[in-house]
């Protein structure tokens, strides 16, 4: 789960990483009040989960409350790369002496954590990494013991951060790493981590991705969602434990396992169609799960046909078929469903399916055949 800047900063603050003081604002009036409350110069920052806010005009400096009101008026409702700004973060302006880049993530290739630090923080860190690789220092961290003090120190010096404040920078790295691990983040990125005029090291931005598999350890994290304006279908899918992504085509896809669903998308494309979504019911789906998945697709007006592609392993085909039968009873389905079942309890599943076969429920023998039928039906529908 990707957090907004201000949410990530609240986690940093919890771990003792200095962040500028600030307030949330959903209206220009609230932004004015926040600026009054904070005093002095403030920065009004669009809260969107996409990079490039600054260039798009989503970050503005205000001399006082009136200007904060004006900037908030401009920024709220703005569209930044397809993301609408519903919220701004108003924070005290910082005195920036230097801008660093810091991130902690997993390097899947090496199977260890990776720290990336650069003294060339700011907007174009990816370009720096390509053009001046030496300016971007990487260090692997063994997840067994975590970031050691010597590593934090070495990376600060190797990346040539300001020497006078090196200990503070190393301390900030250790706290950010502690946040990365103890708060179960997939990513902690700070760009820029700044050095202030008076030698403090402060996180001026945050990009934090939480590992939703670890939410059982952090029940309070669910609260972050309250600030998200979620697309209704995605919200519905998430609440039902389904992995759903909206796409542009007309064939609704339901499958088990990310690989099989991706492959189904590919095959639908190969036979000339286009998927209207990616929907993975995961492993061990029961009848309810399938009914829920079909229910989600009923909310999508672009769907013209649905392809259910199941290869049972931990998932049992008999339960899938039962789910389809239950959905036919309980839901109003506007489109035909092509169903392909193989694997665990496929024979039992196909038997159940035989009982509900109709013009709207069409069994298919293979994945390719299923794709062809579904695309054909979508074109007709």
């Amino acid at each position: 789960m990707d957090l907004f800047e201000y949410q990530g900063k609240s986690l940093f603050a919890r771990m003792g990483v200095p962040v500028p003081e600030g307030r949330e604002a959903r209206t220009p009036d609230a932004a004015r009040a926040a600026a009054e409350d904070l005093g002095g110069r403030v920065v009004v920052k669009a809260q969107v989960q996409v990079g490039g806010r600054g260039k798009a005009g989503g970050i503005k400096l205000a001399d006082g409350p009136d200007e904060a009101f004006k900037h908030a008026t401009d920024i709220l409702g703005m569209d930044i790369k397809g993301h609408t700004v519903h919220l701004v973060w108003v924070e005290k302006a910082s005195d920036i002496a230097a801008e660093y880049y810091v991130s902690f993530t997993l390097d899947r290739g090496v199977k260890k954590h990776l720290a990336i630090v650069s003294a060339r923080g700011g907007m174009d860190i990816e370009a720096v990494a390509v053009d001046e690789p030496d300016a971007v220092v990487k260090m692997h961290i063994d997840p067994v013991v975590g970031l050691t003090n010597w590593q934090a120190s070495e990376i600060v010096y190797r990346a040539k951060l300001d020497r006078a404040s090196a200990r503070k920078a190393a301390a900030a790295l250790r706290k950010l790493y502690a946040a990365f691990v103890s708060l179960d983040c997939d990513l902690v990125e700070v760009n820029p981590l700044i050095l202030t005029g008076d030698g403090e090291v402060v996180a001026l931005d945050s990009k934090v991705t939480l590992d939703s598999n670890a939410f059982f350890r952090h029940p309070d994290f669910e609260e972050f969602r309250a600030a998200f304006v979620e697309e209704p279908m995605e919200k519905m899918a998430r609440e039902r434990g389904l992995n759903f992504i909206k796409l542009d085509g007309s064939v609704g896809i339901i499958g088990n396992g990310a690989g099989l669903v991706m492959s189904t998308l590919d095959v639908v494309s190969l036979v000339g169609g286009a998927a209207s979504n990616f929907l993975d019911v995961g492993g061990g789906a029961g009848a309810d799960t399938i009914t829920n998945a079909l229910d989600v697709l009923t909310k999508d007006p672009t769907v013209k046909s649905v392809l259910i592609n199941i290869f049972g392993g931990i998932t049992r085909c008999d339960l899938v078929a039962q789910g389809i039968a239950e959905a036919l009873d309980g839901l109003e389905l506007r489109w035909p469903i092509v169903v392909r079942l193989d694997g665990t309890n496929a024979v039992e599943g196909r038997e159940i399916l035989q009982g509900v076969v109709s013009d709207s429920v069409i069994p298919a023998e293979t994945m390719r055949e299923a794709a062809e039928k579904a695309v054909e039906l979508a074109e007709r529908g």
Partner: protein, 290 residues
């Protein structure tokens, strides 16, 4: 021959008393796998359909000589279960089926097991290992498999089944089918499995199923280039998938331009693998190479 699991496998299932562990554990047993024990702390001394349950893996190994553990423990406790199995003297192979283990737990367990033991870990979040006609340790439905000479390795659970199904339906049997799992830190990589298939006399061709993200397929391509002389048929899922979640700038800095299905297909094709663009074509491609 087969790799990882065969007639000498003596299986303990961690979580045999749960509904999934029981269903799959006993399906494996019904297939002929030598299921010798289950482990559920607090249920030691009981049994499930005659299979004795122990409080710990160490006790199970001591009592039954188990050499392979399958982990069906819930996500919150699965990494601990992997550590337990790895610490038990005698366990040579751990097959971790559990999906949804927190990434940091998984990374810690993987590295610690590697640093302190010689135990092989497959998974987590994988369908396990099936050596047709010999043993099944995992959740792959065994009726789709056929004994033969093709080695199958896959990052994706359900696509593994799809691949096996395509082979079997064309009469192409398998030596072993290995699902390495799609999690960020798989215990066993494509390279590990390719190395075993290359060394296995009975394996005549290899089918490899990849997907977008990470660089495991690119690593596999480099290994194939240097060490694999057997024909390889590869499929990579996700050509039309929306761009995957990128881990901030960090993700881009780590991976550079790699990670797309197209880049992976190209890497594999460039080292001589036959790359198909539809899983339905896998069987045909293997037939043409054998």
């Amino acid at each position: 021959m087969a790799i990882y699991v065969d007639e000498s496998t003596r299986l303990v299932v961690q979580g045999l008393t749960g509904s999934q562990g029981r269903f799959h554990g006993f399906r494996n047993k019904a297939y002929g796998t030598n299921l010798v024990a289950g482990v559920t702390p607090g249920k030691g001394g009981t049994d499930v359909d005659g299979v004795p349950i122990f409080d710990s893996v160490a006790e199970a190994v001591a009592a039954t000589g188990a050499n392979t553990s399958m982990v069906f423990v819930p996500p919150a406790f699965a990494a601990d279960g992997i550590l337990e199995a790895a610490a038990a003297e005698g366990i040579e192979l751990i097959v971790a089926i559990t999906e949804g283990i927190p990434a940091h737990d998984e990374a810690m367990a993987y590295n610690y097991v590697k640093q302190t033991t010689g135990t092989v870990l497959i998974g987590p979040n994988c369908p396990g290992v099936l050596s047709p006609g010999k043993a099944n340790v995992g959740i792959t439905p065994p009726e789709i498999a056929l004994e033969g000479s093709v080695g199958v390795v896959s990052r994706s659970g359900t696509l593994t089944y799809q691949a096996i199904h395509e082979l079997t339906s064309r009469g192409l049997g398998q030596t072993t089918c290995v699902g390495i799992g799609g999690d960020p830190v798989p215990g066993t990589s494509f390279v590990d499995v390719l190395e075993r298939f290359q060394a296995d006399d009975d394996t005549e061709a290899i089918v490899m199923i990849g997907e977008i993200g990470g660089d495991a397929e690119e690593q596999a391509a480099r290994f194939i280039d240097g060490y694999v002389t057997k024909p390889v048929v590869a499929y990579v899922a996700g050509v039309t998938a929306p761009p995957g979640k990128k881990m901030g700038h960090a993700g881009a800095i780590i991976s550079g331009s790699s990670g797309t299905a197209q880049a992976k297909q190209e890497a594999l094709r460039s080292v001589g693998a036959t790359v198909v663009d539809d899983p339905t074509s896998i069987g045909e491609a293997v037939t043409s190479l054998l």
